[in-house]
Symmetry: C2
Subunit: 502 residues, 2 copies
């Protein structure tokens, strides 16, 4: 018997509570069907999905819109989806997160300069078609295998944190597949990094850093704690002197100098930041900028240490020469490399294990597969160098590929195995626009040289910091987030950073 | 050998990296002491805290400032701390969260109308002394026992989520103790509530609801999922028709009507809200307002069901008459009762198990102990009724007690066992200012009657909603949060609610 009919009875026997405004059943199908009482079984679900039977994600027919499947919602995948024309293609996006992270500002969220939501852009706002159009979808899932012969990807839902749901599998046929899966943080096989260090690549990493930092600040104030333990808890160690590590160190020292002194006055003398780097900090920047950054960070109290990490324990790092460095918070940002899934794909590979692509970002030897962003690299046969793993590269590739796919679609090559004779036009060319990094205390570096050896303008100081902020403010994807980033910055300036640990 | 000296050597052997700006050791104590290499042992810490030896939290001496220990950072405790004069008292606050939650607006954060941080106020901003003054502290801990004879509380640190730290215990001597521990959500002993339902009392509850709601919206869109399962996932059930349950249902229906239709168009017909209440919704409100709320909620698509829950399973509720109600999200708000810790205290008790207090909010039979807010209630001997568990009551009691304690402090009764002969002045009198509740769609109820039977103004509609918003905007504690709440409301109005699941 249907529970809903029962409920109305229950109400009717006492005082009528439900006043049906319109007589029509609020559900578009019979109530008995609505909540089947058979227990939900994950096995049943896992068996269920036969692409052609229970979903409209089977191979598209000639008269239908062709389907682009995008794996990933990073810079590359998001920029691609933004540029794809939903009138030409159905767009299906598969990713374990439903938003793009504005990574260059992520370091600022760890200490409360910016709020987490200000740097996260929902995919549905980047490409509204995926939440509206009948054939376009976003699936909170990960891709588990790619069948390039049949033009099918196998996916599995993400259900983190919800105990009562088991993940289930489903298949999607594609006309065009764009692999934009990004990269994973490198640990160089060092023991204990994954267990004890926090990376800085996702919003939940920044949340974890903020919670741990505030917890340590509060714990170190508890009576009975030894001086040694207090200093350990409040020792923040950053491993890796790239832009992320330097910007995070700068933000942390700003937080210490402006907020900890005021709001955690009892322990302010115990908190310290150490940045460990095996080579040079900011090695891609101009030498004068590097020197400026070194001076600026040292002045703000960040200790710069040249060293290589050998082992990471729960409360201390061991360096190659045996030195032990106790820590309370350990942030790891030593660059990125291909993920296990990308490594496992049977596709041509570029140097360093990335998916190999040609000048038009196609994966050769298979039909209709493209790869962009950090997961891809030019094949040696193209004679081009593998581009650096930068947001700038990923974004430019996404934009280029969106235009290319739109062009292919309009010239009749949108469906699977139909693009062989299309004129692909100009190949992708990357022109580096320059690099920026903030170093704290309203100071930043702006390096406008086109390559490490090239010549060009390089600036450092308050004016650069102003350029840094303005540039990011105009580049944050939506007006909503632009507005919030500006408001967050203004609030931090006036009221200080938020220190509630929620 | 000290690791820091080692590190400088490492740097010196390659290119010098650290440029000591000033020769002086950046640490205020010898480096060898800074990071003792002995492993941190929780046993050692648990043994360590001898109140008088390693902390300055032992009994205060006659010449020193007396110490008020406040347990809790809810409405009562926070308002008390705001009012206490740090020139008269050292203030020590013990609570498992370092912020006050502006509970009436918590329901709005679950669907992204407001941001989580806009409704959380750090204690350090409410009473800056606790982060600055040498004898005032905030401890992220819970109180585990109270020794009223010796004027000592025993506490234990909170270290949720951090694997490598064990909690440790410490003691604090008090001159005045204020118990403001609040209450716990009532489950009436119904099996499965704690495991499967989400309460709505803390920021992390709101975060959990938001994550689960967005997860279910996305999962229900996955191919291969049955109609039954889709409807189950998107069935949001609220148990309890008090202001929290009603406001949450209203917010949810606003979210569905404005944002889900736009951003989750594929599944918009499957999402429904059911509010289950055993008696009347909003039973403390005027009967006309109740009728208005019932109509308004029904119009917004909320199904109001009169029923009593018997059992809660992972994916369905079972009502008393055997009806099974499948759900994807279950929010439980059926009122509050005393916590296990409050029940365990050997203090006089008021009806319903609250800590018994006299007209001056003192706990009789013991010296220097006060109890305010939801954890306390007038003793039968006072001839007064136990006040309802409302923010309004808690806030008024906090304000009264702050003034009373300041007065006691200035007239020489601040120290332990010194307040027997003080004139306590007027007893605490509660005057109900009225109740408010929003019901969604820019509508709210305002009931200005002084009691359930009394006469007075009662309003419902858009104007009430305007009063509701304005009243809360002026009552949010800090200017920072007032500003953020206003900005959040404006942004939601212009851009819609945020749907990134972070």
């Amino acid at each position: 018997m249907a529970w809903f009919r029962n409920l109305i009875q229950v109400s009717a026997t006492t005082k009528p509570f439900i006043k049906p405004r319109n007589k029509k059943n609020p559900f578009p199908f019979p109530i008995t069907q609505l909540f089947g009482l058979a227990p939900f079984s994950s096995e049943a679900i896992n068996e269920a999905p036969q692409v052609n039977e229970c979903s409209n994600l089977g191979p598209t027919k000639p008269g239908e819109k062709p389907r682009v499947v995008v794996l990933g919602t990073g810079w590359a995948g998001s920029r691609l989806m933004k540029g794809l024309d939903p009138k030409i293609y159905d767009i299906v996006c598969v990713s374990p997160r439903n938003h793009m992270v504005f990574t260059p500002l992520l370091a600022s969220t760890c200490v409360g300069t910016l709020e987490f939501r200000s740097v996260a852009e929902p995919v549905g706002r980047i490409q509204p078609a995926i939440s509206k159009e009948p054939g376009s979808y976003f699936f909170l899932s990960k891709c588990t295998s790619i069948d390039t012969d049949d033009h099918v990807v196998q996916c599995e839902t993400i259900t983190d944190g919800v105990r009562t749901l088991d993940p289930w599998k489903f298949k999607i046929s594609y006309d065009k597949l764009v692999i934009a899966l990004g990269a994973e943080a490198l640990t160089f096989g060092i023991h204990g990094v994954k267990d004890n260090a926090i990376f800085l690549r996702e919003v939940h990493h920044a949340q974890e850093i903020r919670r741990k930092l505030l917890l340590n600040l509060m714990l170190s104030d508890v009576p009975g704690i030894s001086e040694e333990e207090k200093s350990r808890l409040l020792h923040c160690v950053v491993v890796g002197g790239g832009p992320t590590g330097v910007e995070f160190s700068g933000e942390l020292s700003d937080f210490i100098m402006k907020d900890v002194r005021l709001r955690y006055a009892h322990v302010k003398d115990y908190i310290h930041v150490t940045l460990i780097e095996a080579n040079e900090i900011l090695s891609s920047f101009d030498v004068r900028l590097r020197r400026y950054a070194t001076n600026q960070l040292t002045k703000s109290g960040v200790r710069l240490v040249r060293g290589t990490v050998k082992d990471v324990k729960a409360q201390k790092i061991i360096l190659n020469d045996g030195t032990e460095v106790p820590y309370g918070l350990l942030v790891w940002s030593t660059g990125v490399g291909p993920s296990t899934f990308v490594k496992s794909l049977e596709l041509p590979k570029a140097p360093a294990g990335r998916i190999g692509i040609d000048e038009w970002l196609r994966v050769p030897s298979v039909q209709d597969v493209y790869a962009i962003g950090d997961c891809s690299g030019f094949l040696e046969s193209t004679g081009k160098q593998v581009l650096p793993a930068l947001a700038q590269v990923a974004e430019r590739q996404g934009k280029y590929l969106a235009e290319l796919l739109n062009k292919i679609g309009t010239t009749g090559g949108g469906h699977a195995n139909c693009a062989q004779d299309i004129d692909y036009g100009n190949p992708f060319e990357y022109r580096h626009l320059g690099s920026m990094a903030s170093v704290g205390s309203y100071k930043a570096l702006v390096d406008l040289r086109q390559s490490k050896e090239g010549k060009g303008l390089s600036l450092a100081g308050f004016f650069s910091w102003f350029i840094w902020r303005s540039a990011y403010l105009t580049r944050v994807v939506s007006w909503r987030n632009r507005f919030y980033v500006a408001i967050n910055w203004a609030t931090t300036f006036v009221f200080g950073r938020d220190i509630s640990r929620i």
